[in-house]
Amino acid sequence: MMPFLAILRHDLRGLGASWLVRLWLAATALLTLVMTLSQWQATPSAVLIASLLFPYLVFPWFFVVIILGVGPVSGSRSESLADGILSRPVARHEYLLASWLSRVVLVLGIYLTVVAPAILVLVLANRPAPDDTVTVYGILAALGAAALVMTLQVSLGFLLGTLLRKPFLAVVVLVFVWYPINLTLHTFSLEEFSPISLNQALPTLLRQPWRQSEEDQQTETDEEPMGWLGQTGHFLETLAPVPEKSVQQDPTFYDRGDFSDFFLPRVILGYGIPTLAAVALATLCFCWRDL
């Protein structure tokens, strides 16, 4: 474990010193503050919290996360890591997993550092906004689901960086894969695995109590208007137009808009399995390739 921890610490230190990470931290803190203040008066808690998570799930922090993900094994860095680290008695999978973990820790660390205090203030403060029953379980589940999506983004960046070796190319490919994903998921009736749909479902999740029965979930409907968040989601959907025929024939999770059949374990598996697959594939590819 000593080499693994040494690489993890070294990578975290290097990332912490990078301008990209510092700027991201400042920008995300500022954006969260602006969003919170602008919706402080009128927006219900669940919708406001979901809107705070929107930049992490969809836009714009997706770019930062994938740029951090593609870095460690591509471009000029691959040569220096060969000279500096992989010529030492370190197994390649040790290096790769430590680098991946350091990026996940960093991304989630920044996300939680900024979002968690904002949510805490929102929930505890006496706001003039309409009453909303946000639960502790709901907050933790929503934070966890967003964290899972970001972990997948880092892992996809990692995989593409390893496969393509060129960071810029990997980022471009990821952008072109990630944003039209709604269309693909809709084709297979898997809209809840789309980050946009997930973001729209978050208010429902945020109001769910711990161990709520499935029957309760079925009867509980959420007709709350989505406000600007919903509109943004629909706007982004238009970027990846869905075939009209399939929309009419398949009025499921995504089209009803109530998200009452939101099932967290399914979402966890939906993001967790691709994450593990991406890391495993990146490791396999890295262990076989020349440096």
């Binding site: 000593m2 080499p3 921890l5 040494a6 690489i7 070294h10 230190r13 290097g14 010193a17 040569e79 220096s80 060969a82 000279d83 500096g84 680290i85 992989l86 010529s87 030492r88 008695p89 370190v90 197994a91 390649r92 262990c287 076989w288 020349d290 440096l291």
Partner: protein
């Protein structure tokens, strides 16, 4: 005894286009200081990277102290101290932080790491720079730190890739002295194309050309390959007199003389004649012609000439370099002079 390094038909082809290492069979004895010579692009660095498992061979195999090399050969890398050419070091760290990172990568416990860093930094003359960030280091300082880094785990084998590249004369001398000192109880493989370095420190040498090992053997065998019947006489006098002298000396039996750069006489004596007698005759003629002998040299740079001769021979062999016999590798391993 198991050699420090053994390769059998080691081959590396990049992308089906570039043959970097071509069917290399090699044994490097333990405890030797082995100079890996070759022009740029000969495959020296690729050979090192194959031994370290950073690259996978297209064919053949390599062993270090009897253990196979490969991407996951952690134990093999634990026995190797690698110094790349112009090492890329993390600029945001100080030398102690960098060595501490490497010590952890080598799984050294803290009580071993700390005292070793101090002695290593003192040995490479960086004790006064421990508070500086590596990004502020000069090329020479970075190379010294790279040398210290390659010694962190006290490995029995050092692979140093052009350790004197870009160094000033003092740093170069320091590095060569260090190699000689470290070579007393380690196997060292030094890749370079600076022949004077090889001359000073190596006891064994291998010459690579276009990915092939065209010579491998003791240093003295390589020098034997040089035609030792060359003498250079630097003369002072008119060009006409020197030309006349060259004509007279050329009439001597077994002596071939030609003028180089107007003032230098290159005297070549065939093997069957007494070199001393022939040279004495030539010198008598110089004296009789009232020319001033400024310098007399035998084999201006033995290693350089032997090296260039090897490359020329390899080029001249043309299609003969193709090996029909599976046992061809012995040809390259042999240090015997050519017939």
């Amino acid at each position: 005894m198991e050699p420090a390094i053994r390769t059998e038909h080691l081959t590396k082809i990049f992308g089906g286009r570039l043959i970097a290492v071509n069917d290399m069979s090699l044994e490097i004895p333990r405890g030797s200081i082995f100079g890996l010579l070759g022009p740029n692009g000969a495959g020296k660095t690729t050979t090192f990277r194959l031994l370290l498992g950073l690259q996978r061979p297209s064919a053949g195999r390599a062993e270090v102290f009897g253990r196979p090399c490969g991407a996951n050969a952690v134990v093999v890398r634990g026995m190797i101290g690698y110094l790349p050419t112009h090492p890329k070091l993390p600029g945001n760290l100080t030398p102690i932080e960098y060595l501490d990172l490497l010590g952890r990568l080598c799984r050294l416990p803290r009580e071993v790491r700390r005292p070793r860093f101090a002695s290593l930094l003192r040995a490479v003359g960086l004790l006064g720079a421990t508070d500086q960030r590596i990004r502020t280091f000069s090329t020479g300082m970075a190379t010294r730190l790279g040398i210290a880094a390659s010694l962190v785990n006290d490995p029995p084998l050092l692979l140093w890739d052009e350790p004197t590249a870009g160094l000033d004369p003092a740093a170069r001398r320091f590095t060569l002295d260090l190699i000689r000192e470290l070579g007393k109880n380690r196997t060292i493989v030094v890749s370079t194309h600076i022949l004077a370095d090889i001359d000073r420190i190596c006891d064994h040498v291998g010459v690579m050309h276009e990915g092939r090992m065209i010579f491998n053997g003791p240093m003295r065998d390589m020098k034997l390959r040089l035609r030792r019947d060359d003498f250079s006489l630097d003369l002072e006098g008119s060009g006409q007199e020197i030309g006349r002298l060259a004509q007279q000396a050329g009439d001597l039996e077994g002596v071939d003389v030609r003028v180089e750069a107007d003032q230098t006489l290159l005297v070549r004596i065939s093997d069957v004649h007494s070199r001393a007698r022939a040279l004495a005759e030539v010198l008598k003629m110089v004296d009789a012609a009232n020319l001033l002998l400024q310098d007399l040299r035998c084999g201006q740079n033995e290693t350089e000439n032997a090296y260039l001769q090897l490359l020329q021979e390899d080029e001249a062999h043309g299609f003969q370099r193709f090996d029909f016999d599976a046992g061809h590798a012995d040809d390259a391993i042999s240090g015997d002079p050519p017939a």
